[in-house]
Amino acid sequence: MSTAEAAGPPGRRRLAARPSTWLAWALSAFFFVNLAGVIGVVVVDSFGTRWFTSWLPEGFTLSWYGQAWREFGLSQVFLVTVEVSLLVVAISAVVGVPSAYVLARRSFPGKKIVTVLFLLPILVPPITYGIPLATVLYKFHLAGTLAGVIVANLVPSVPFVVLTMTPFIEQIDPTIESAARMSGARTFSVFTRILTPLLVPGILAASILVLVRTVGMFELTFLTAGPDSQTLVVALYYAVFSAGIRTQQSIDAMAVLYTLSMVVLLVVALRFVNPTQLVTRIKEEGATR
């Protein structure tokens, strides 16, 4: 169990610590011990043979992973997940970045309304607008298809790109653009030859965050997906919910596979983005409303 050593508080300890310090360590330790238990139980079970009431399974095996891969058609599920998330990332970047540029640089009548419009899909939880959205998609026969899943996932992704990109655009010195314009560049060339190269880090960060969100987005995909357009989260939910003939261990193996892919994505994302700063940026954007 690799997460066990994380249960203890890292760093130094002073005996004459302030009460808040002790409280912080106690809370973190309690949280991490239980978290390690929750994760550990699934990981151990996915490698275990038979496990009833003992502390640990009777033996260990790797066979559940192969079984889960075949039983749940995971090659198809992974393919759908990759297709959906890459398309969502690409479309939301193309739609979101120009909007973010205007919102970061310009003031115009009705800007507040537009800002609120871009904030709402992030503030309102997916299930509230997911139900009417899925109803509309069913009306146009889009629900149950790959296109429907992509369209539904774009709704929170485009505003998310706008919110993440706005501070990156604000950091770029406007005089660079003005210089380009005075040299005769049109908006299109300003965008492709000046802004985009400067914005690559920001676009990368926003894309990776959208990727993480899309892979982990349960509600919208769940409400719009058909049998052939399930992403990994939704397939996992159906595997658990319609359990019975399925063995617990192969479901656990699938859950571990999902978590592993998310951890890889998140570690990559953390190399580009500082999570605490990201939240501050979102907060500042919210404060300007």
Binding site: F108, L123, R181
Partner: protein, 344 residues
């Protein structure tokens, strides 16, 4: 034409304006000031002497910030209107056209008169409010301790973000086994003789609450930490110089500055917990003690195929959430709003 607004304007009026340099500066200041100067930027330029009556309509628009660059907004706005506003309006309209008949408000009447349906509101609040409160309150001491730099901070951040990667299903699976009657948690409690027989912690209220705490705490912690790092640490040091103990420093200096941020954190945590769906379904008791409102909305829309009722419940959900958020924000408006957002 790109950049029509400042450049074309300057170029077109050059013969009327000898001081091009100052014009240029006005333009740069305008661009640099960006959105913050809002209407004032326009009036500032207009006030510099050019108020000719023959300004074309386009120029007057450009002065207020309306030009072709705004077209870049169009795809995004169109997209959201089509896929967010239209479905929402459609759902709202649909909720007033009940499939079973009985007048436009029949769905809402059914929802609020049937005790089983009305009860979902209470159950959801009973889960969401404690989860949000515990997450926010617990995140304060942890964030206080970890705001400085210390050994292993990066590791700690990564560990705290891990629950985000778990997804609701693994959390649910893990909780079912970990907190179950034969799980490690109950085994430890029994081995320590804290309880005689295993405590029932899954397939009821507590399992769902635990899942909300695991997924919600990292989120609340990250938000609180970012608000806390925005508070100038010298304020606390000044208080310490004046002889304030740790509790006084926290109570009189840090907490008042942090309170508005905590209000926002609470709002967002509550919204997350309020829309709990998969964990209530998997770890909870979806037909009894954790029959939350989102389960009922899904059940009505996609299992009974009563889209009208489903939309009505979704609208009730949105309204309830907005009421709570508005209440918290109104309460927040009574706080001191000063240098809490000073980071940046």
């Amino acid at each position: 034409m790109p950049g029509r607004h400042p450049h074309a304007w300057t170029r077109g009026r050059e013969h009327e304006h000898p001081p091009v340099v100052s014009e240029q500066r006005a333009h740069f200041e305008y661009v640099r000031a960006g959105k913050r100067r809002d209407g004032r930027a326009g009036s500032g330029i207009a006030g510099s002497g050019i108020m000719s009556a023959d300004r074309s309509f386009r120029h007057r628009l450009a002065e207020r910030g309306v030009d072709r660059t705004l077209l870049l907004l169009l795809p995004g706005v169109l997209f959201l209107v089509l896929l967010f506003c239209y479905p929402f309006a459609y759902g709202l309209g649909l909720s007033f056209q009940p499939q079973k008949g009985g007048g436009p408000f029949a769905n809402y009447v059914t929802f609020f008169t049937d005790p089983y349906l009305r009860g979902t509101v209470w159950i959801t609040f009973k889960l969401g409010l404690p989860a949000a409160l515990v997450n926010v309150i617990a995140s304060v001491p942890v964030a206080l301790r970890t705001r400085g730099s210390f050994r292993g901070k990066r590791l700690m951040t990564i560990l705290l973000v891990v629950p985000v990667t778990l997804g609701t299903v693994l959390t649910a699976e893990g909780l079912l086994s970990y907190l179950g009657p034969n799980g490690w948690f109950n085994k430890v409690l029994t081995a320590l003789h804290i309880v005689d027989r295993p405590v029932a912690l899954v397939h009821n209220y507590w399992g769902v609450l635990a899942s909300l705490l695991i997924t919600g705490f990292p989120f609340a912690y990250l938000l609180t930490l970012s608000y806390l790092t925005g508070i100038d640490p010298t304020l606390e040091r000044a208080a310490a110089t004046l002889g304030a103990g740790w509790w006084q420093r926290f109570r009189r200096v840090t907490l008042p500055l942090l309170a508005p941020g905590l209000a926002i954190t609470f709002c967002l945590s509550f919204v997350l917990a309020f829309s709990v769906f998969p964990s209530a379904q998997l770890v909870g008791d979806p037909r009894g003690s954790t029959h939350v409102i989102s389960i009922e909305a899904y059940h009505a829309a996609f299992q009974q195929y009563d889209y009208s009722m489903g939309s009505a419940i979704a609208m009730v959900m949105a309204a309830l959430m907005l009421v709570v958020v508005a209440l918290v924000l109104a309460w927040r408006a009574t706080f001191y709003r000063g240098a809490t957002g000073g980071k940046g």
